[in-house]
């Protein structure tokens, strides 16, 4: 079925939107002060950032999107009140090989465990497979991020690699898992 009607950027409770350079920096700056969130979201060291610093990052990001053409970035907003709650992106896209990496995170602690992550991942995958026509997507997750692992498995991702003791945090080393999902696999699940 050739469906061009179903909205790519509108979900049940959330939507994908562009960066709001005026309002978003302050909100994202707050998330960077939450080291628990940052340690789930990033493998690079947690660093608190100011709104001004985030604003500069947004500018760099949009420049990169335009120049490198291998990156898509979305801000996740709650439809009811347009609140900025997280971000989702597809990066390291290799067009010739048809692959890309995905990442997403809900920054506001009070907005987690509401199913928004599930909705966002569903939309992100549809964009990757039905709009970018990628053959597969990859996600890298540290072994301590049980929430992300559960979410990926829900969508049928397969754990393909265990990079043993690749990360160090909180005084010990951790494995990093690499998960993959193929376009066919996604299509079959969505149809089912």
């Amino acid at each position: 079925m050739f469906d061009i009607q179903t909205q790519l950027f509108e979900g049940q409770d959330i939507r994908f939107g562009p960066i709001d350079h005026e309002k978003d920096p302050e909100i994202e700056a707050k998330w960077t002060h939450d080291s628990e969130f940052m340690r789930l979201m990033e493998t690079s060291p947690a660093r608190p950032m100011s709104a001004a610093m985030i604003k500069k990052q947004y500018e760099k990001l949009e420049k990169q999107i335009e120049e490198d053409k291998n990156l898509y970035h979305f801000m996740i907003r709650v439809k009811a009140d347009d609140r900025f709650i997280g971000k989702a992106s597809i990066y390291w896209i290799e067009w010739a090989n048809g692959n890309g990496n995905i990442r997403l995170g809900i920054g506001a602690a009070e907005d987690r465990r509401k199913g928004y992550g599930t909705q966002a991942l569903g939309m992100l995958l549809r964009f990757a497979f039905a709009e970018l026509n990628l053959f597969r997507v990859t996600a890298n997750v540290p072994e301590y991020n049980e929430g992300a692992i559960a979410l990926l498995q829900k969508f049928g991702f397969m754990q393909e690699v265990c990079r043993r003791r690749s990360l160090e945090r909180d005084g010990r080393r951790w494995d990093l898992y690499v998960f993959g999902l193929l376009n066919d696999e996604w299509r079959n699940r969505v149809r089912a």
Partner: protein, 194 residues
Amino acid sequence: MNDVFAGKLVRLSAFDPEEMSKAFTRWNLNSEYQRLLNSMPNRMQSAKSNAKWMEKEVEEMSPESYFFSIRTLAEDKLIGELGLDVVNWAGRDAFVGLGIGETEYWSKGYGTDVMNVLLRFAFTEINLRRVTLNVFEYNPRAIRSYEKAGFRHEGHLRDFLNREGRRWNEVYMGILREEWMELNNQAPGAVGGG
């Protein structure tokens, strides 16, 4: 996992060049503060001039340099600044420097609390094996504070400073990851803890 930014009295917060350049200019009007912190002769710098070097350093986001502002948990007041610079990746050692510009917060345990938070960040987020600092012989308050945080004396550069007509030593102190972990009863990956 542990919150690596919060202590008991303070939290580490963003080092925003616009805010910090103004704070630095204000704090540096106090020559006692400058003399405790800097080995270079006191001078005055405008906020604009401070902002220039800050912006450059902060924007780089190098894995070798970390800058924080220090804010009180109670009033969320900006009271000082903190920097961590990795000098040797093979040895995993970094220099730490901190300054509490708001003098009413001296001698109340804030310095020790900042150092405790910093050490947790250094050992469990940057994964260093040791932290080094130097402090001037005529700053016994700071030396006591660092001893409380677990730093040990490692030596001193004799007659390094020249102030008020006499020479002073620059004291070197260091703490190893194992020592810090033992002090804080840190089992690897433990949740909670001070």
